[in-house]
């Protein structure tokens, strides 16, 4: 590790994995509530567990992105971080704000939480993924701006590489599109229209820039292929991402009251969205095949290749499954959407953060890679988690297909709950896969504490 200030990434990664564990625990609670409706009721009703599950996911990914940026930027720009102290301060503010929000969700009825946090002053609560109270939302803006200030100043005074530039644009884009969460008109159609500018233009727009730059960085380090080639690929991939993803927002504008031409624009452009993910898979494998060095960190290489494949499967293939308007007419708002959601989030964003953590942690602890034993355990965790997510997705897809058949397509459609009772078997199987995922995660955490002789320092 050439720059001391890179060490500030360590707390971010540790917090990220901690919140990740919390997210999975609440995921298991919800999975059980799908089959045992009154599990933990009324202490933790389903909607509270869901808020915690989704908010923890987004917050721990943000921690991961920030940690990755704090690790990469000094090395990319070949200069110390502008202000490590500011990074530490922001870490604690963000962690405390996040923890308070989660505690607020759990201990206070949501309506009460809204009253306590001046929601009437500027109502922004009660919308999916954006349930945070106003003070938390404002806190996120402050933390994001301070973080961006820190990173941008470092880049300004250091070497400007394409990877740093793409990462910076991704992070600035993330902050800019978060501002749309403050727009909550009383007209539901307008509310939803611009809600998607935060959600979709995040996960199918600027987050893919962050994904691309993180993957490119790790690939340069792990394969030793020269920067020029990797950065060329990165630009073409992120170009295709935004070219298809921006108008791809249209696949959310089929049934919310917006004009019908969106069904054409949305279908055409979102049908092209898997292309950048396919290119990312080819990119990862080509670089690893043409590597010019044998990097001791095999686990990080596996994570990088896995990110390419699983993001293509989850976001690309499972996305295309229900993105065309005539199909979406029947699958909109069913378990098919949940299946895509799980594999896409895991394949694209969870895995890329675990890739950078798996690469950076040993370096920050003073060695090129962990011991053979630790890496084998980490690879076990890779396969346990990845296979578990594949099964969760398959079971939810099966549940979704049956639900669509019973509730939407058949001439004598079943009521919602009646159809849910028919798919309970798949919810049981999904819950079991969730437990296996948790075992994989615990194995992943354990792999950091396994001893054995380590590879020499980089």
């Amino acid at each position: 590790m050439q720059y001391q200030s890179q060490k500030v990434a360590m707390p971010y990664f540790i917090a990220a994995i901690g919140l990740f564990t919390g997210q999975i625990l609440f995921g298991l609670i919800m999975g059980l509530q799908y089959v045992m409706g009154d599990f933990l009721f009324p202490a933790i009703p389903f909607n509270v567990a869901r808020m915690v599950h989704t908010n923890l996911l987004i917050v721990w990914l943000l921690f991961g992105f920030m940690g990755a940026a704090y690790y990469m930027i000094p090395e990319e720009t070949e200069s110390e971080l502008f202000s490590p102290k500011l990074a530490w301060l922001m870490f604690w503010i963000f962690l405390v704000a996040g923890a308070l929000t989660i505690v607020g969700y759990l201990l206070v009825p949501y309506a009460g939480l809204a009253k306590m946090t001046f929601n009437d002053l500027w109502p922004t609560m009660g919308r999916e993924f954006l349930e945070q109270p106003l003070p938390t939302k404002l806190g996120i803006v402050v933390v994001a701006l301070a973080f961006l200030f820190n990173i941008s100043m470092t880049i300004l005074k250091g070497r400007k590489t394409s990877i740093a530039l793409v990462l910076l644009m991704g992070l600035w884009g993330l902050a800019v599109f978060f501002l749309f969460s403050f727009y909550n008109p009383s007209n539901l159609v307008l509310d939803k229209y611009f809600w998607w500018w935060t959600v979709h233009l995040w996960v199918e727009g600027v987050w893919e820039l962050i994904l691309g730059s993180l993957l490119a960085f790790v690939l340069i380090k792990v394969t030793g292929v020269d920067r020029e080639i990797i950065e060329k690929w990165l630009y073409i991939i992120v170009a295709m991402t935004l070219i298809t993803g921006i108008i791809g927002t249209g696949h959310h504008y089929y049934w919310i009251g917006t004009p019908e031409y969106w069904q054409w624009f949305g279908s055409v452009f979102s049908a092209l969205e898997p292309i950048p993910f396919f290119m990312m898979t080819v990119f990862a494998f080509t670089m690893v095949n043409r590597r010019r060095r044998e990097h001791p960190n095999k686990a990080a290489t596996l994570w990088a290749l896995g990110t390419g494949v699983m993001s293509f499967l989850g976001a690309g293939v499972w996305g295309f499954l229900h993105t065309l308007a005539p199909v979406n007419f029947y699958t909109h708002g069913t378990q098919i959407t949940a299946a895509h959601g799980h594999m896409a989030f895991y394949g694209a964003y969870v895995m890329v953060v675990l890739t950078i953590i798996s690469y950076a942690m040993p370096v920050m602890r003073g060695r090129a890679a962990n011991s053979e034993k630790a890496q084998v355990m980490e690879m076990w965790s890779f396969w346990l988690m990845t296979v578990a997510i594949v099964f969760i997705t398959l079971f939810l897809t099966a549940a979704g297909i049956l639900q669509v058949w019973l509730q939407r397509v058949s001439d004598t459609p079943m009521g919602f709950m009646a159809a849910q009772d028919q798919v309970t078997l798949f919810y049981w199987l999904r819950e079991i896969s969730g437990v296996i995922f948790l075992i994989g995660l615990i194995t992943y955490i354990a792999s950091f504490f396994v001893g054995g002789e380590t590879k020499e320092a980089a």
Binding site: M51, Y110, G126, Y235, G257, G333
Partner: protein, 141 residues
């Protein structure tokens, strides 16, 4: 990859392409904003509908239900519940929760006042009248 493919050209395509398509999104958004009033009947947004949306959001209904297909998939779609069940049923249902039937999915008791219940029904009625291109496929939602 061959040398014929330069990084600076790739960067230009990245900047040009994303700016181009963001402009296209803004143009389409502008057109959508012109056409929307005829499709969402915003003239029917009474103060009750606005208050109803606030009640919907304050109690995080989206945490279990879907509205026009977006939200959580734990409980029924409510975009067309006014047409499916009618306002009185909705109010009676909310007041009578939770059912406490063992093993069944439970809806919390939100202790809504009668005013809030009427506002919620007004909001769900208005939502049901949005022209959603004939979605959902049937009344079950």
């Amino acid at each position: 990859m061959s040398q014929a493919f330069t990084k600076s050209m790739a960067r230009n395509i990245f900047f040009g392409g994303s700016a181009f398509f963001f402009l296209l999104l803004v143009a389409l958004t502008f057109d959508t904003m012109q056409v929307l009033p005829k499709r969402d009947h915003r003239e029917n947004i009474t103060p009750a509908v606005e208050r109803g949306k606030m009640v919907w959001e304050k109690n995080d209904c989206i945490g279990c239900h879907t509205l026009l297909g977006e939200g959580a998939y734990f409980a029924p779609e409510l975009g067309n519940v006014y047409k499916r069940r009618g306002g009185e049923f909705v109010k009676a249902w909310i007041k009578s929760q939770p059912t406490k039937v063992p093993g069944r999915r439970q809806m919390p008791q939100f202790n809504l006042t009668d005013q809030e219940l009427d506002d919620m029904v007004a909001f769900l009625k208005w939502t049901g009248e949005i022209n959603t291109s004939k979605w959902p496929p049937n009344i079950e939602g």
